[in-house]
Symmetry: C2
Subunit: 158 residues, 2 copies
């Protein structure tokens, strides 16, 4: 089997293209950034179907506060990969719902300390089992072995 309508010289050119991995064509749907964006979208959608009243960033803030206890708004942002402007909005909304409370640092007056309220603690304890199910459903298209490989490589990338 060969390529129709091709002279010998065309065949040589074609071979070069094959060796180059078809680099003259740009396929958006094969680019890591595009697929990464879609995978992230799918995860957020799965998250919303399990936990409708909280976003992933809001959950991340609660989970991290549950893990480490009271901390400054900036430090929390670093731990959950949010810049200062973003974390402020997230904390404002959690505060408005009574899930976290803020206070001023006694020594360093620049810092705003954030901590879970009892309601916030109760919420995160209730939600963590759901979060496990979300992780499971997100990884469901992969076998256990594939999922382990994927998580290892994803972590190297992130």
């Amino acid at each position: 089997m060969g390529w129709p309508e091709m002279s010998g010289e065309d065949n040589l050119l074609r071979l070069v293209e094959v060796e180059d991995g078809d680099e003259n064509n740009y396929h958006l749907q094969d680019q890591v950034g595009f697929i990464l964006r879609k995978a992230h979208q799918r995860h957020v959608s799965i998250f919303a179907s399990h936990i409708g009243d909280l976003t992933p960033p809001q959950f991340a803030a609660l989970a991290k506060l549950y893990d480490i206890g009271e901390t400054s708004q900036n430090q929390l942002g670093t731990l959950i990969a949010m810049d200062a402007a973003t974390v402020k909005g997230v904390i404002d909304r959690l505060k408005a719902r009574g899930l976290v409370e803020v206070s001023k640092h006694e020594v360093d007056k620049r810092r705003l300390l954030v901590n879970l309220t009892p309601e916030g603690r109760e919420a995160i304890e209730r939600l963590i089992p759901l979060a496990r199910a979300i992780t499971e459903e997100t990884l469901a298209p992969l076998t256990a072995k594939e999922a382990a490989t994927f998580l290892r490589l994803l972590a190297k990338l992130a």
Copy 2:
């Protein structure tokens, strides 16, 4: 080597925890959603460092129009994984910059056709080589073999 300060009963409990994969502790930083979000953030940052005057969604719209030619706004949204509300904003901004033009479908009056302008075509042709570099830099933490595996698994997930 054992665990300090543990009686025989404690050791039994500890073994159960190990067998359970430490499932009593929830580690945000190990969850696929959290790492996916960070990997996506890193990619967007790399993208911005190479292509400062266009966002990844804007680039995706141009690249897809370059690939398939004129299409409806809705269809374009489907192809680049954007809902109708999001794609409208993206197209509006590309239109304002003269990179795309819109027209009404002659038969189906509901549809808004979108196409590249000559400037848009010139822009995407200029940018595609940069996009290849962005993909390369995003995948740089992985070996070629790892990258291939990662892309295969990521595609299954997305």
